[in-house]
């Protein structure tokens, strides 16, 4: 038996919390379906989330499987992905 945290099929984790994903979802879409709009904090600490929705503005940056600055609005939501919010832009 493994002691690693188990993630069900069809879900990612956001800051340790389970979020269901549907086929074809982007990370932003999966989070918005749960009503999660705030994805990170800006340089001065303001909450920010998806703005342009098409990969241009870089407001929806999250960390995915340890890789920082991933655009949630254009990145496919893969089952088992470990997503973290709260990072400021570099």
């Amino acid at each position: 038996m493994t002691t690693a945290p188990q993630v069900e099929d069809g879900a990612l984790t956001l800051d340790g919390k389970r979020v269901a994903v549907r086929p074809g979802d982007t990370i932003a879409a999966a989070l918005l379906r749960q009503g999660i709009v705030a994805l990170r904090h800006s340089r001065t600490g303001e909450a920010r989330g998806v703005f342009c929705g098409i990969g241009i503005c870089n407001e929806c940056l999250v960390t995915v499987n340890g890789r920082p600055n991933v655009r949630a609005c254009v990145t496919p939501a893969e089952a088992g992905a470990v997503v973290a919010t709260g990072r400021a832009s570099p």
Binding site: E46, G49, G53, V74
Partner: protein
């Protein structure tokens, strides 16, 4: 070695697909690249199987000879005949050589800075439409779709179809919409589409308010309310008309800004249209830019919408084939004539939209000193104002003093706002033949490890 017949098309939306298809059919070897993992551009996002003319479905059936590279981002134009691209899946940067190039890079929603526009739950109208159509989600349950132009009807249709409570806040007066009834009536496709929107919006009790504007958005960590005011013909708020509406999302749709970064990097001549407060790529009747062997089609030449993009794309593909010697002049003339006729027909509605729903100067006066101007660097209008001290009011002066426009989006969001704000508030005259801001390569943020030099020396 080159026979001059290798064509690279950048952008897999309606214009790019039409260009690739026409050029391939005329005998060019065509490669089509797009950033997304699906063809169709923003117009067909979430509707790739649509049977509409110019859809990805139609393209796949007809343009079997085209090499399609998806998930591929153009990051530089190092010299004539080569583009540097980053493939996101393989995380690899490489060069693609070509003899001719069609730019069909599309547009994005015009950003506008109003108090509270950085709150989570404020999204662009196009972004909201994409989320609703492609994924069935929305930024909230009670939404305002605010801005100007018929696109608001389409976005409100998409969002109300998902069960959201939606209200349309149109800044232009009702007579701007009414002024198009004549051209709409003469265009069967648009007439049918518009009637469909209005019928569905009525069924779902979507209210439309004309001559009103969202002038502030409120909340702490997300949208909680918005201030809506009646505005005059210059979109300046009429005092005493403000009211607060409780909402959890606001979709902003004040038209579009062409994606000109690659055209700029190549050095194609641009021209400013003062009426729409935009820059476009200058093209001749055959869609040739000022740079030889480079063509442009679709939104970057004038924001004409999908049908104009299809005709322009086909025209660009045919002209590239003519210039490459794959089509002779007589053959070209026969094929281009119906394209030009179609363009003239569909451009009537596009031209009405361009003239009737232009942003008015009041839009650039909504920001207070505390309102964020540059979202990447958290620069306020007050800081921009302070940065101007003693300098002529130009976007460059603000950029060097404050770092506005030097963040990850490289000014795509704040530079169009800054330019018009300086014009309205400080008498700045935007240049007529070049955008007053530039973007340096890489045109998009690329992970350092993707570059060949880093792969060679790990």
């Amino acid at each position: 070695m080159s026979d001059g017949r290798a064509l690279l098309v950048v952008g897999g939306g309606p214009a790019g697909m039409a260009a690739a298809r026409a050029a391939s059919a005329a005998g060019l070897r065509v490669t089509l690249v797009d950033e997304s993992n699906r063809l169709g551009g923003q117009y067909f996002r979430g509707r790739q199987d649509s049977r509409e003319p110019g859809s990805p479905h139609a393209f796949a059936a007809a343009a079997t000879g085209v090499r399609v590279l998806l998930g591929t981002v153009v990051v530089d134009a190092p010299r004539a005949g080569a583009l540097t691209v980053w493939n996101q899946a393989s995380d690899h940067v490489e060069e693609i050589a070509h003899d001719r190039l069609v730019l069909a890079t599309g547009a994005y929603d015009r950003p506008v800075a109003i108090p509270g526009w950085t709150l989570p739950g404020v999204v662009t109208a196009g972004g909201a439409s994409t989320l609703a159509k492609a994924h069935g989600v929305a930024p909230g349950k009670r939404l305002l779709v605010a801005g100007s132009g018929p696109f608001l009807l389409s976005v409100a249709d998409d969002l109300s179809a998902k069960g959201c409570m939606v209200e349309i806040i149109e800044a232009s007066p009702w007579r701007a919409s009414a002024s198009g009834l004549g051209v709409i009536a003469m265009d069967a496709e648009i007439a049918r589409q518009t009637a469909g929107y209005l019928a569905r919006l009525a069924t779902r009790r979507v209210r439309r308010r004309y001559g009103t504007m969202v002038t502030a958005i409120h909340g702490t960590d997300r949208v909680e309310a918005a201030t809506v005011e009646q505005v005059d013909r210059d979109w300046r708020p009429i005092s005493g008309t403000a009211r607060m509406i409780s909402v959890d999302g606001v979709c902003l749709g004040y038209g579009f800004v062409p994606q000109l970064e690659l055209a700029q990097a190549i050095g194609c001549a641009l021209e400013r249209d003062d009426v729409s407060a935009n820059y476009f790529v200058r093209v001749d009747a055959g869609m040739r830019t000022s740079t030889s062997e480079v063509y442009a089609a679709g939104e970057i030449t004038g924001l004409g919408g999908k049908r104009v993009a299809l005709a322009q794309g086909e025209g660009a593909g045919l002209t590239a084939a003519l210039d490459a010697g794959a089509l002779d002049r007589a053959n070209y003339d026969v094929r281009i004539a119906p394209v030009i006729a179609r363009l003239r027909q569909v451009d009537r509605v596009a031209d009405w939209i361009r003239r009737a729903f232009v942003p008015r100067d009041g839009l650039w006066s909504c920001a207070t000193p505390e309102t964020t101007l540059c979202r990447c660097e958290d620069i306020t209008h007050r800081a921009a104002e302070a940065g101007l001290a003693g300098n002529p009011p130009t976007p460059y002066a603000v950029k060097t003093a404050t770092r506005a426009g030097m963040g990850l989006c490289q000014g795509r969001i704040c530079s169009p706002i800054l330019t018009e704000w300086l014009r309205v508030r400080h008498g700045y005259q935007p240049p007529s033949e070049e955008r007053p801001w530039r973007i340096r390569p890489p045109l998009r943020p690329v992970p350092l490890g993707a570059w060949p030099a880093h792969k060679a020396n790990p």
